[in-house]
Structure formats: structure tokens, C-alpha cells
């Protein structure tokens, strides 16, 4: 029974891909995930389906505990769903092992984290190079691509600074350059402005918009509606379920909460 359902879903997914061959980048069908927490089973994701096309700028908005982070881990190929299918760039992700997932992350996804997650002992240039190191590129080629990417985010004059010598905004720009270095089809930004003040936040969001305008697909995950509005499409996740048109849904009582603190508490 179950197998049949899987088969059907796969067929359906394949059909969808066939219909939107040129456009569909991410197709998620009936994705569920639950985990044990203190002896209780938490249904973090329940039958989520989502399609993202090439060139989309989509925001996924939700309060803490909504399953937002779990969903991000799924999209980012850091975790695997219990049931459901995930097609990323025509590749079925939910059947891969750890090493294959690492390779997918390396090639298909560019991560931008809330806390930048740069390696503190490496320079901006070396941080940017890192995805290419794991791809096995030669030193010269790597350097060229990394310098080019740092140029795109306007940090050509900060190549040899280590993260502690850079401001928060600059660090996040290095992180964006690192995400771009691998030339991935998807940029996955998890609360990219969470640790920045409003002016630099606007700067970073502007940069993402600009990248999107040049055809880069971006997935932005946030709890902040104002940030989410930067995207052309907003979906809302709540209690493990996904709702389209998150922009219409306003959660006025949460608008002023401290996102950074909430994230750390997760």
C-alpha cells in the first residue's frame, strides 16, 4: 500500500517536472518529519508540498517552533524526511546517503546563515574559496572565482581580512560571496539579517534582491514579516503545515520580538 503511494507520488512529481522542465527547481511533495523530544513525538513537518521555480525569490515565514528550521534543514539537504519526496534540480534527494548529500550541498546549495558562520581563522578570500576546495578545484582557479565573488559583494579591498576584522554587514557579505562561489542553483538564506542592524539589514536584503534580479533563485527563511516582504512570494509555515500567501497573514503580536534571541533558544 505504502509503496504504491510512494510510487504514485514519484510519478506525480516526475510528471510535474516534465511539465515545467525549464522552470521547476524544487519540488517537494507530501514531506513529513517527526522527531523525539523528551519522550514526546513532535510532528515538525506534516505533509508539506511546495514547488519553487527557477528565478523565484521566495520567503518562508513562521514563528519559532513552527517547523521552519526543520524545513530549512530539509531544503538544505542537511536532513532527510521520514516520508515524501524532494526533487532538487531534477535529482531525487530523499534516497541519498550522507556523502551524496554532502556533494549535493556543495554543488546545488549556497547557505547564508544568521550568524554568518565564517571560519574565524581563515581570511575572507579563504572563506569564500572553501566550497571550491571541497569540490576539488585547483588553487589558481579557486582564487579567481573567489575574488570575483567578493568583488560582486563589494569586498575587493578586504580579501585578506579575517572575520574578526570585519563588521557584521561585511561578514555577511563574505558569507554571501561564499554561497555564490559554488555557483549553486539555489541560495538558502536562514535569517540572514537576524544579527544585523536595520541599515545593514536593508543593505543585505538589497543585495539579495539584486542577485535575484540577475536570475538567482533565493529561498529566504525568516520570522520577520518585514524581511519576508523583500521576496516576491511569501509562504507561511505554522505548526508543521505550509500555507501559501503568508503576506496576507499578519501576526501583529510577534512583529516586535527579538528574532536573534528566539533563534538561539530553538
Amino acid at each position: 500500500m505504502e509503496e504504491e503511494a510512494h510510487l504514485q507520488a514519484a510519478e506525480w512529481a516526475a510528471e510535474m517536472v516534465a511539465n515545467n522542465m525549464a522552470k521547476s527547481l524544487i519540488t517537494i511533495t507530501n514531506m513529513s518529519k517527526s522527531y523525539e523530544l523528551g519522550g514526546e513525538t513532535v510532528k515538525a513537518l506534516q505533509e508539506i508540498s511546495l514547488q519553487i521555480n527557477e528565478g523565484d525569490f521566495i520567503s518562508i515565514i513562521g514563528p519559532s517552533g513552527s517547523g521552519k528550521s526543520t524545513f530549512m534543514n530539509m531544503i538544505g539537504c542537511l536532513d532527510q524526511p521520514d516520508t515524501g519526496h524532494y526533487l532538487l534540480d531534477n535529482q531525487e534527494v530523499n534516497k541519498l546517503n550522507d556523502n551524496q548529500l554532502a556533494a549535493i550541498r556543495n554543488v546545488k546549495i549556497g547557505f547564508i546563515f544568521q550568524n554568518f558562520n565564517l571560519l574565524g581563522k581563515l581570511t575572507a578570500l579563504e572563506n569564500t574559496e572553501l566550497p571550491l576546495v571541497y569540490r576539488g578545484l585547483g588553487t589558481k582557479e579557486r582564487r579567481e572565482i573567489a575574488m570575483n565573488c567578493l568583488g560582486k559583494v563589494g569586498l575587493s579591498d578586504r580579501l585578506n581580512h579575517i572575520p574578526s576584522q570585519l563588521s557584521g554587514g561585511q561578514q555577511q557579505r563574505v558569507a554571501i560571496a561564499r554561497a555564490l562561489a559554488g555557483n549553486p542553483p539555489v541560495l538558502l538564506a536562514d535569517e540572514p539579517t537576524g544579527a544585523l542592524d536595520s541599515r545593514t539589514s536593508q543593505e543585505v536584503l538589497g543585495m539579495l534582491k539584486e542577485l535575484n534580479a540577475r536570475g538567482q533563485t533565493i529561498i529566504l527563511i525568516t520570522h520577520d514579516l518585514e524581511v519576508a516582504k523583500a521576496a516576491s512570494r511569501v509562504v507561511r509555515i505554522h505548526d508543521g503545515r505550509l500555507y501559501e500567501d503568508g503576506g496576507v497573514w499578519l501576526e501583529s503580536e510577534r512583529i516586535n520580538e527579538d528574532g536573534n534571541k528566539e533563534y538561539q533558544n530553538q
Binding site: N117, L119, K121, L130, Y134
Partner: protein, 389 residues
């Protein structure tokens, strides 16, 4: 990710924590250095013993009499042994301790009574004067040859030949001084007085010949000569075979080298334990390093590092640490060994194979004790690792 990149990362991470890296390496440095020093001392003493035994000549046979009352060798019997086919020279030996005196200088030394052949049988060399002659023995002259230490004790650094000294109130005349032969296993060959056998028998008040040194005509004749001597002794002293023994240098050498090999093995073993302890130190630090760098591992994994890359990075770091320690240990070990030989006067024997072995062992330890932490790092869950603060 290729090996060169991992190597760069490993060296970089070691460089950022120099003090810690040095302390970690110290265990390996001490381990490798002590293996090299102790084994080279052990092998050096083994070598010097072997050299000394070899220096006696491989043609030498020794008849040892353990019970001199049951087995009394007479001069005629000794002549009989000397006439055997394959035997070139024979030296009967009477030994005992005497109190030698020259003015205010005195010494307790061992006296060896023997014949003129002794010097060629035992391969002795003189630094002054001459050795005993057959005439000295026949006429019971009180002419003696001194070991180098005895000569120095009794006569200082001056000329001993031609001088006289007293044993039990009787004057003895020095005709020669032996060249120094060095110390082996605590018994000095330089602390002796060699006298004609007839004179010694009287001085020691003993007629018993304790041992006979026999020189075979050639190395090939050694075994036949040994059998003939055994045969002769059996017919001379029936049913007394437990009270004397005939041995050649090879037997002696085997005994000696088995003793010194055991000693070397023991010293090496003790030193290897410290190397092992150094390895545990590396594992400890690598485990600390993995938990300190959990976040880094998470970031690397999110960016696309697979298990192999992470494993390789941490394993290489352990191997680089241990091999750097091993290399430093080799240098310090060789230096220390040379220092010991120069200052303590011990013979050392540095062998390339032991040095290489100690270094390779340190490398091996790096791999063995690096695998566990590296494996732990490679298996970290990227989600949890990223959340780690």
C-alpha cells in the same frame, strides 16, 4: 578534497595553537628520543662485549675446572694437551688475589700465574717492556707483567719497567706493562699482575690450575681440537665430566649476546611505553580539538565537506603532530646519545634501522590514536554541529 589541501589545513591548525602542539608533541619527542638513546646504549654495550670477545681470537678454547680438588691438572697433563693434533699453544692459569705494595701505594689485585704462551693465546699487547718468557717460569724468577691500571696505581704515570714492588714482603721485578683493554661487564682486564706459573703457585700458596686456555691451529681445527681435548680429559679424569667444562668463544659470545640482547629489548620496551603514552596524549588533544571545533566541522559539512574530507583533515593533523614530534625526537635522541657517549664514556651504537623504526612507530601511533577523534569528527551531525556554540 585532495591530500595537499588537507595537509595545508592541518599545518595551519597546528600553527594557530603552537604551545599546545608543542606540549602534545613533547610526549612523542620524549618517547622517540628515549627509544633511540636507550637502545643505542644497549646495543653499544653489546657491541663492545662482542668486540672484546672477538678480540681474544676465535681460535680460543677454554677449559674451566670447577672442582680443583677432584680434577688436578699436572704439568705433564698440560703438555699432553699441547701435543694434541690441531692445538697450537696451551696456557694453564692459576689465579688468586694478592695485596701488592710499593712504598705507600698499595692495591688489592688479581694475580694470574701462567706461561709465555699466554700473551699470544689471549692476544695481549704490551705498552712497555716484554712479556714473560719460558725461562722466567723454569727458573721461578720473580719477574711480572702488570696490567695498565695496576701499573698506574703502584707507580703512578712514571715508568714501571725495571722497578720492583712487594707482595707479602717479597720483592717482584716488573718486566712489562700491558696495554689497556677496557672494562667489560664490570670486570677489568687492566687490574692484574701476570706472573710465571711456578712463581704464582708459590705466592698464592696454591697448586690448582683453575683453567687452561688453548689456542687451536686455525678456525677449522677448533671443533676437532675441542673434541680431542674433551676425549683426553675424559680418559684422564673418568666420571668427573661435571667438574670441568670445555668451551669456545662462540659459546661465550652467544651467552653474552643473549644477555645484552635481553637488556636492549627491555630498555627499548620501557622507552616504547613512553611513546605509547605520548600517543594517548595526541588522542586526548585531538578529542579536545574536535569538540572545540564542532562548529567549524558543522560549517564545513554544510558547505559540502563529506566524511572523508573531515576524517582526512583531523587524521592528518594527528599524523603531522606525531611525525613532527618523531622527527624532533630523532634529532634530540641522536644528540643525547652522542652526549652520553662523550661525557659518560659509554660505548653507543646508533643504528639507522632503530632510528627509522622509532620514527615510523611514532607515525603509526599518530595514525592509530588519530583515527578515533577523526572518526568522531567525521560522524558529527551537521545540524547539531552548526547549532553548537
Amino acid at each position: 578534497m585532495n591530500l595537499r589541501e588537507s595537509m595545508k589545513m592541518a599545518i595551519r591548525s597546528i600553527k594557530t595553537n603552537k604551545m599546545r602542539a608543542f606540549l602534545t608533541m613533547l610526549g612523542i619527542i620524549i618517547g622517540v628520543a628515549s627509544v633511540i638513546v636507550l637502545v643505542s646504549i644497549g646495543q653499544g654495550s653489546s657491541k663492545s662485549v662482542k668486540d672484546q670477545i672477538n678480540g681474544l681470537g676465535t681460535n680460543l678454547l677454554t677449559v674451566n675446572i670447577t672442582d680443583t680438588e677432584a680434577v688436578v691438572l699436572t704439568d705433564e697433563m698440560v703438555t699432553e694437551l699441547a701435543d694434541l693434533q690441531g692445538v697450537s699453544e696451551v696456557s694453564p692459569v692459576v689465579t688468586g688475589r694478592v695485596y701488592a705494595k710499593n712504598g705507600s701505594e698499595s692495591a688489592q689485585v688479581s694475580m694470574t700465574g701462567t706461561n709465555a704462551a699466554y700473551s699470544s693465546v689471549k692476544d695481549l699487547e704490551l705498552s712497555q717492556g716484554r712479556f714473560l718468557s719460558d725461562l722466567d717460569s723454569e727458573l721461578r724468577l720473580k719477574n711480572v707483567v702488570l696490567g695498565s691500571d695496576t701499573a698506574e696505581t703502584l707507580f703512578g704515570n712514571g715508568k714501571a719497567v725495571g722497578e720492583t714492588f712487594q707482595i707479602g714482603g717479597i720483592s717482584y721485578h716488573v718486566v712489562g706493562v700491558l696495554q689497556s683493554k677496557g672494562t667489560s661487564l664490570g670486570s677489568s682486564g687492566d687490574d692484574v699482575i701476570i706472573a710465571p706459573i711456578s712463581t704464582a703457585k708459590r705466592a698464592l700458596k696454591s697448586m690448582a690450575i683453575g683453567s687452561v686456555y688453548v689456542k687451536a691451529e686455525s678456525e677449522d681445527m677448533l671443533t676437532p681440537a675441542m673434541y680431542r681435548i674433551q676425549g683426553t680429559l675424559t680418559s684422564l679424569f673418568p666420571n668427573q665430566s661435571d667438574n670441568y667444562s670445555v668451551s669456545n668463544q662462540e659459546d661465550l659470545m652467544e651467552t653474552m649476546s643473549s644477555v645484552s640482547d635481553t637488556m636492549t629489548l627491555m630498555l627499548g620496551g620501557i622507552a616504547s611505553i613512553s611513546l605509547l603514552v605520548g600517543g594517548i596524549g595526541i588522542m586526548n588533544i585531538m578529542l579536545v580539538s574536535v569538540s572545540e571545533r564542532t562548529k567549524e566541522i558543522g560549517i564545513r559539512k554544510a558547505i559540502g565537506a563529506d566524511r572523508k574530507s573531515i576524517l582526512q583533515q583531523f587524521l592528518l593533523e594527528a599524523v603531522v603532530l606525531s611525525s613532527m614530534g618523531g622527527l624532533a625526537g630523532v634529532v634530540i635522541g641522536i644528540g643525547l646519545a652522542e652526549l652520553v657517549s662523550a661525557t659518560a664514556g659509554l660505548t653507543i651504537s646508533l643504528s639507522f634501522s632503530i632510528t627509522a623504526l622509532a620514527f615510523l612507530f611514532s607515525l603509526f601511533i599518530g595514525v592509530i590514536f588519530g583515527v578515533f577523534p577523526a572518526n568522531k569528527a567525521s560522524k558529527l551531525n551537521p545540524i547539531q554541529a552548526l547549532r553548537y556554540e
